[in-house]
């Protein structure tokens, strides 16, 4: 917000205020929650607590990054939770061949789901919700077929990935931050990022400008699938177990919430990586606050539902402008 044009009238000011609130409300929310917690929650300001919160938010954030790309292209990816489950199954199955091979295969699984999603959307013209819904159903089934029940992961490298740290910062958090920076870089600095935003903002204009619309869309879902798979690996490392039945359940909802709360409109054309990070942190803090004050999970879920509706409602106002 550096360039100011005319302005000066109250109407403009109110619009700007609303605009600011929509764009930076999520940061304000995070700040308020932090302050409230510092004031009322005992032991909130401990390194240990921050560590816990950050480790918990890492997988959600990684999934949300891919979701932000999908939503930026005026789509959505409901299959992310199932991709996490698929990834944890593949990881467990191939861990015998060494961690790096298993990791590679897990991510390739996510890429394969992404290619399928992308092909359904870009070539066949299925609505993104529907296309990714089919993969959401089949993906989790496949994950459970590959690995019928919970399995402990006893791999020292995986264990250290899950609980180790560098200068006090957990690996999981480092990886999530690195991926966030990478996605921000891709959105800002690559042709793919620019083309994605143009396609999300105005598909007809992008087509007439000769952009490779199909290729970009497929790549969007591939990114989303790969990031979800990585999130699956991270979550497995943290839990030191593979549980394809429950891992990633409702993850699509958390990811969409983080993205939408972070100020990325569902109508596409914008990707706010910083906002998405803040959105994921906001949801995590909200949950943590409620839990720390012995408010039951039921309240957390209801609160989360209300936050989603409010965020979408606010974004709708922006869309109309």
């Amino acid at each position: 917000m550096t360039d100011l044009s005319l302005g000066g009238r109250t109407r403009v000011d109110r619009d700007r205020l609303l605009h600011l609130l929509q764009n930076y409300g999520v940061h304000l929310g995070v700040a308020v929650l932090l302050l409230v917690n510092i004031a009322i929650t005992p032991h909130f300001l401990s390194a240990e607590n921050f560590r816990t919160q950050a480790v918990q938010v890492a997988p959600v954030l990684v999934v949300a990054l891919g979701m932000a790309l999908a939503i930026g292209s005026e789509g959505v990816d409901l299959s992310v939770g199932s991709v996490m489950a698929l990834s944890t199954s593949l990881l467990s199955l191939y861990l015998g061949y060494g961690m790096w091979i298993a990791l590679l295969i897990a991510v390739l699984g996510g890429v394969a789901v992404g290619v399928t999603n992308g092909a359904l959307v870009a070539f066949i013209g299925v609505q993104p919700i529907v296309a990714t819904l089919a993969l959401m159903v089949a993906g989790r089934g496949l994950a459970q077929v590959l690995l019928p029940q919970l399995k402990d992961v006893r791999d020292p490298t995986m264990a250290s990935l899950g609980s180790g740290d560098l200068l006090g910062v957990p690996y999981l958090v480092l990886i999530a931050v690195a991926l966030a920076l990478l996605v921000a870089f891709v959105v800002r600095r690559t042709t793919f990022g620019r083309q994605l935003l143009a396609i999300g903002d105005s598909r007809p204009a992008a087509k007439l400008a000769g952009l490779p619309v199909r290729r970009v869309l497929i790549l969007v879902y591939v990114c989303s699938g790969a990031l979800a798979a990585i999130a699956g690996v991270l979550a497995t490392a943290r839990l030191t177990a593979s549980d394809p039945t429950s891992l990633g359940n409702l993850m699509e909802l958390s990811a969409i919430t983080a993205v939408v709360v972070g100020g990325t409109p569902l109508s596409g054309g914008r990707v706010r990586v910083g906002g998405t990070v803040a959105g994921a942190v906001l949801i995590q803090l909200l949950t943590a606050t409620l839990i720390k004050h012995d408010l039951p999970p039921s309240w957390t879920q209801i609160a989360q539902a209300v936050v989603i509706i409010l965020a979408v409602y606010a974004a709708r106002e922006r869309g109309r402008r």
Partner: protein, 535 residues
Amino acid sequence: MPSTTGHDTRPVMGAAVLSVRGLSKTFPGVHALDGVDFTAHAGEVHALIGENGAGKSTLIKVLTGVYRPDPAATPGTGVITYDGSEVEFTTPLAAQHAGISTIYQEVNLVPLMSVARNLFLGREPRGRLGLIDFRRMHREAEQALRDLGVRVDVRRPLRELGVGAQQMVALARAVAVDARVVIMDEPTSSLEPREVATLFGVIRMLRARGVAVIYVSHRLDELYEVCDTVTVLRDGTSVHSGPIAELDRLRLVSLMLGREVGDVRDEGLTNFSGNHDTEAQPILEAQELTVHHQLRGVSLAIRPGEVVGLGGLLGSGRSETAKAIAGALPPDSGRVVVAGAAVRTGSTPAAIRAGVSLLPEDRKAEGIVPGLSVRENIALAALPGLSRFGLVDEARIDRVVDTFMKRLRIKASGPHQRVGELSGGNQQKVLLARWLAMNPKVLLLDEPTRGIDVGAKAEVQKLIDELADDGLGVLLISSDVEELIEGSDRVVVLKDGAVVEELTGDAVTEDRLLRAIAAAPATTADPRTRGGDDD
């Protein structure tokens, strides 16, 4: 029912059913209607014509309750009088209930539902327990359609019918609600000739029943065949109203376009300089482009350094020709040759690679990407060339953007301002910059100066001139006759999707253009026999 023999025996016109006086409608920044007078009488077919932006669709939308008119400046004006009393329709439904039915250009029915269900939606005959009596509904639907000369299985889904028959179902629905006024917005744009004949039969039947028909079309032949009276709109005002028989074609076209035949005008009212004729080989040749219902074997050639105008009324196939050349509208047949090599048709990227760029007519929906900045919009098409290994070369983009923002004098608070916030003229310049950054060989400009203010208009016109001087081939589409004549070195005139004449050299005058547009059709026999031009 008294027989109406032929279209020459016109029934005596009835009383005024629907009229407006001094009607205005403004949108933010636009005066769409500015004191329009219009009266439709019972038992008349009233043509409503005008070029793009003349205000036809706004007037129809006000009449049918989609828009509300501006509050009247003086008492007694700006109101709709229906059936002798002032009315105010708040919704399309209210207008329909009052007896004003509209048949939209695109059939507004539900294609997956059966014909009968479409006909009776919301007013199904109901029997015991409030359940729909399908037997009666099907019988009545069949009867209603047979009255219009359509015999179809009313149980089949609507989409299985041809467009013409669907149009008839829409018509049957409009008539079935005892409409007093039926508004038809370009009903024939996608009909076969025999379907048009059927439609005209229905229109005459409605007229005989005392219904007022308001008929919007750009096909002059049809207007003269079926209409009694005509109202011409231009720039939001009604410039003429009266019996159509009193106007010859030339006069009608003159009224629509706002140019007088035989008017002596000074050159130089626009910002175009003289001609830049060249004898060079064509840089682009379109050969026999055909698109079902839209283009019938259009051929034209553009030489480097030449501005070729594409004349014709709205709906004559001007935009379609440009889109077909640019790969945005896949032709059924025909070729596009650029610099001696055939270009794959129906592919925008292929056309762009060959050096053909289109500035689309609908700037807001198909041109700009409103949420992105000026800088990103300019760099959009050229992005792969301005990147290395998929990474954007920001410094090079800055240079390109800076060059073009200066050269085209784009007024923005900076390269990072969102394009959606710019004025129309500056948006157009951003689009021009987007294509110029690609070093095109041919620019197709579809209404490049529409909806932009006078100053920007002059600038854009000057730019077009400069670009041609630099050796680009330019195809210019414009409803502004003056712009077309002064800006073009040659003018290809289209009518009903085919080339009817090509004006060159001294023949590029408003007079000749108007005459070419107004010329009566040779026949409707084989359009291909007169598709070619003379080079």
